[in-house]
Every structure is written in C-alpha cells, then in structure tokens.
C-alpha cells in the first residue's frame, strides 16, 4: 500500500476509503501520527486491515490503533464490528491467545520502602507464578473443575478463596462472560488447560512490578488508588494452551463453513461463520469458555503475586496489600451495543491487540469509574514505561469503545535476535535498577525495547485522537518474563 491511498482526517486520524479495493465492505479508520502511519507501510498491517474490511456483516469502519503491526490475517491493533446476529464471527480476528489481557494491581507501598527487597520480590514472584514454555501450574484441576472455570471464570477463584468481590467487580465482564459452554471445547483443549491454570506462559507475557512515576489525571488516579511513588503490579497473559487449541480447532472446523455460506475471503486465516449459524454459535460458546479460563488465570496469578508480596514484604512495609485496579481483555469478541449511523446497533466487536476503552457513563463498567471512564492499560516494551489511561466519549463515538493495547512491534523477532544479545540486555536493564527473571535469553532478546515502538508516542496518538486520556505513567522495577 502507498501513502497516497490514505486520506487525512486530522493529525491523528486517517482513512482508507471503501473504494480502495472492490471487495471492501467498509472503510478503514486509522488512529496514528503521520510518522507512525508511514512506518506502518513497511509491513503488511494496512493490507491486512483492508482484508479485514471484507468480512460479511461489518458495520461502521474497521479501526486500526497506533500500535498496529502485521499479524496473521487480521492486523494486531485491529477492531472490527459485525452486525449481531447475522454478521460473522471470525476466530482469526480474535487470535489464538483468546482473552490475552492485562491486569493492574495498585498498592500503598512506597518504592523507597520496598527497594531493599526488590530482588527477593523478583525471586518470590518467579517462584509463585510459574512461567515458561508449556509450564504447568501449582493447581491440577479435575474435569469438573475445568468445566466450572470455563463457565464461571474468576468467580471460580472467588469460591476457592483466591479472589475478592472487589477483584471481580473490577474485571471486564466481572471476570465471567455469559454464554460459555465447555462442551464446545475439544478434549485436546481440555488436556492442555487442565494443568495450566495460574501460569504465565512465554512469549511477550510478563509480570512486572512498576512504580507510579507521574500522575497526569489526579482525579482518575485517586479513584484507581494510584499515587506517585507507589508500587503497582501488571500481569499480562491469556488462556494458555486451552485458548490456543480452541482457536486452532475452530480455524480448521470453520473452513468448510466459508464455502457453505458462500463467503469470499482474501486470506483463509480470516475464516468465519455467521454468528447465528451452528458453526458460529459453537465457536462463540467455546471462545467464551476460553475467555473465562483466561480471566480466572489472571485472577489466580494475582492471588499468587499477593502471596509473594506478603512473604517478602510483611512486617517490612506498612501495608503490603495489592488492590485490583482493573483487568481487561485485548484479544476477544464481545457482543455490545454501539451507535452507528445515528442508531444503536448490537454488534460483535472483534478486538485483536486492542483494548476495550469505555468512556464515562458507559454501561458495564464499575460504578466508581463511571465518572472517569474505564481504566485502560498500555504496557510498554520490556524495561520501558507502561501507561494507565481511561476511555473517553471519543472512543465510544469513533472506535467502538476501544483503544490501543501496547507499544507495537517494529522489528522482526529474527532481526531482534541477531541485533540483541539476551545476556547483555539483561545486564543493561539490571544496571538501570530493573530486577529481571527470564526463562530464555533468546526470548528476552526478541522482546528487547528496540523491537518495539516508543509507547509514549503510541499514547500521545490515542490521546491526540481523543480515544483515550492519560492518567499515569509507570516505570518498571521488577520484570518476570516467561
């Protein structure tokens, strides 16, 4: 794609018109600075956004966030809304790590109080929160318990004493999506999930202790319990092998449905079926079961992290408690109501590498956030800042209540491994006062800061576009990588 194909709307908003390619059903709307837009032309992210704009039943426009980058089929940082119930649902437009997401916990622990114990905290977090390839957890579920996790999500953890009511209230969908049916997930998915609850996994997943470096919106920060100089904990992970298998199964199972419903696709990874078809209904029930597993997974990890904090900091700091700020998904399909063409329309919002960012007064967010808007978390690359934002009226009007989810890659993994030595990177970050535990040096190199966009630029773009607003900037002091 060339830049001339893209029409400028404002400094942070651009459009690829619907007539760019004959098979497009809606335009593509991009939220990015000009520099980001130009750099996005170096990979296939915009071509993939155009491909996504061909899905049957789309309404409004396909949205692309400033952290966009090339994925497989659907761009990372993409949002697409299809009319419910006759529009399509696409497993590939949600991704393999169903309900990959981020949870933020706040504290009243001052960095200076905790600083002498950060290395111990890194060791304890690494011990309590299993990470790495295929890693099994401390829990081994029965088949009945796995069913319960897939149906009840975080509520299962509440029953087991691993969550509080406030944790659940401050989780997207209160940690449980209606309509999940564990009977729609395969035996293989069950086999993969049964020992993985409460595990972090590998790749770009992490647990991070941060300090609140700067507050930009004191009112919103106060509601979230965030203060400058205090520690926070970020958890980034998803539905583990269970979710990967659910997506793999349905990407295969839905291939014949594409022919059956006479859907033409530019890429088979965009495989889809109408939501009101048997195939679409089965996938939605399975996807929701995996999403509930992921909510519960982050809840159990939060419980373990609290144990680690207590073990290391009890009696050494005044209050070692971690309170939930919020937990949200960034790979998911959700049925929501949005204003499209002046009318309220029920749609399935596919968010792949994009975060729900409901604004003030929107339904479905905790009452304490109804005035400020829903918290949105934007983790930066390893060793760099992360951000806390809130959703806005603008996100409700222009991006199906969505915003960005991270920094966004700019460098391939193979190039990162060639250019960065894992051991050297770890030493550099440790010299900056960041305590690191990593499962693999090669994995560490792939996630090096230089492989990502500058997260501050991404946040500047979403704020400039009016689809999120800055609340606080976080700086990492402990990083646990899978």
């Amino acid at each position: 794609m060339e830049l001339k194909a893209v029409r400028k709307i404002s400094d942070y908003e651009w459009e690829i018109p619907v007539d760019y390619r004959p098979d497009m059903r809606v335009p593509v709307r991009l939220f990015a600075s000009r520099d980001m837009l130009e750099s996005s032309l170096e990979d296939l992210s915009l071509d993939q956004a155009v491909n996504a704009a061909t899905l049957p039943g789309l309404v409004g426009h396909v949205v692309v966030m400033p952290d966009m980058h090339q994925g497989y089929g659907f761009p990372i940082g993409g949002v697409a809304a299809t009319r419910y119930p006759d529009g399509v649902i696409s497993p590939g437009a949600i991704g393999y790590d169903i309900n990959c997401g981020v949870r933020l916990l706040g504290s009243q622990i001052r960095l200076e109080e905790a600083e002498p114990f950060l290395e111990d905290l890194a060791i304890a977090l690494d011990h309590y929160c299993p990470s790495g390839v295929g890693k099994q957890g401390h829990l081994s579920l029965t088949q009945a318990e796995l069913d319960a996790v897939c149906r009840e999500g975080s509520r299962w953890a509440l029953k087991k004493g691993m969550a509080s009511e406030q944790d659940l209230r401050r989780t997207e969908e209160e940690g449980r999506i209606e309509g999940a049916d564990p009977a729609k997930i395969s035996q293989r998915a069950r086999q993969r999930g049964i020992n993985q609850l409460g595990t972090l996994g590998s790749g770009n997943h992490f647990i991070e202790v941060d300090v609140v470096e700067q507050v930009f919106d004191p009112e919103a920060a106060a509601v979230m319990g965030l203060e400058e100089g205090m520690l926070t904990l970020l958890i980034h992970c998803g539905s583990r092998g269970l979710g990967h298998q659910v997506c793999s199964d349905y990407v295969q199972l839905l291939q014949p449905a594409v022919k059956r419903y006479q859907i033409k696709l530019p890429d088979r990874e965009l495989v889809c079926a109408p939501m009101n078809s048997p195939e679409g209904e089965d996938y939605m029930a399975a996807m929701r079961a995996a999403a509930n597993f992921a909510f519960c997974n982050r809840q159990v990890l939060a419980h373990y992290a609290r144990q680690a904090f207590e073990e290391v900091l009890a009696g050494k700091v005044k209050n070692w408690h971690l309170h939930q700020v919020y937990d949200l998904a960034h790979n998911i399909g959700k049925v929501e109501t949005h204003r499209v063409g002046g009318e309220d329309v029920r749609v399935c919002v596919h968010r792949k590498g994009a975060t729900r960012a409901f604004g003030p007064g929107a339904p479905g967010i905790p009452v304490e956030y109804s005035k400020t808007g829903q918290p949105v978390f934007v983790p930066g690359s390893m060793g760099t800042a992360s951000w806390v934002l809130v959703g806005t009226e603008g996100s409700m009007e222009r991006s199906f209540g969505s915003s960005c989810h991270g920094a966004g890659r700019v460098m391939s993994r193979s190039r990162a491994k060639k250019e960065v030595r894992g051991e050297r990177l770890r030493n550099e970050l440790q010299a900056e006062g960041i305590h690191i535990r990593a499962g693999s040096m090669a994995g560490l190199a792939e996630e090096a800061p230089q492989a990502y966009k500058d997260v501050d630029d991404v946040v500047k773009a979403v704020q400039g576009a009016g689809i999120a607003k800055k609340v606080a900037r976080l700086r990492p002091v402990v990083v646990i990588k899978g």
Binding site: D43, S45, H69, Q70, G71, Y72, G73, I76, G92, G95, Y96, D97, V133, G134, R188, Q191, R192, G201, S202, G203, G241, H244, C247, S248, V251, Q252, Q255, P256, D267, R268, E269, V271, R409, V410, M411, S412, R413, S414, R415, S440, A442, G443, E446, G482
Partner: protein, 135 residues
Amino acid sequence: MKERGFKEVPHTADWALQVWAPDLSGLFHSAAQGMVSLMGVELHPDSLSAHFFSLKNSDPESLLVAFLSELLFITQEQNQGFAHLALAIDGPVLHAALSTAPVMRIDKEIKAVTYHNLDIHWDGDRYTATITFDV
C-alpha cells in the same frame, strides 16, 4: 532428487518460514524440521520410542496445518520431540511414523500454526510454501 529445505523469513510480530521440496511429503518434512528449529528443541540423546499418527483433510494446506499442529502438541504438551520422521501422503491422507525422544529444552513456544497466506504451489521445479506461526 532436488534438495529440500527451509529458511526463516522476516515477520514483524510472529515467525514465518519458507519451505521447499521436490515432492509434497518432502515439503511437509521440511516444514516440520523448520518448525522445531525455530522453537530451539533439544532432545534427550537416548530413549527413542515410536509414535504413529494419521490425518485426513480436504486440501494440502489444511493437511499441512493439521500435521504441524499435531507435532506441536506432541512436542509442547507430551514433551516428545521427533528425532526421525517418515511420511507418506496419499491424496487427502497423511501417515506419519516418528522416532521420538523426551524434550530436554525448548527455547520458544509456538502458539499455533496459521493459514495466513498459506499456499502450497508447484513453481515448475519444486513445491514451495510460506508458513506463519503465532508465537
């Protein structure tokens, strides 16, 4: 017999692998070798055991995705990597015989094998395909 092989091709977020071979079973073999090479799989040198499976699918691309997904499951979930692999493809059916050994180490997890732009084609000299993995 023309050579078969694989090479990693750049991809911003995930991993992509170009594979080639003079026949379809060779292409699948190359894809399997390339995948475990990307993952950095190291096997225990002894303790070989036999493993067999068969798959059926409607088109070669779906068969390739199913085959690599099966290997991923065996490697990442059953902790068995293949030391030797024999394949026979007969139309929509694939038969695989593996000598497997316990996995000692995996550098990097692959979440899934995707269909993204997957097209097995004959270029007049050999079969080629580019496979994208979600990592």
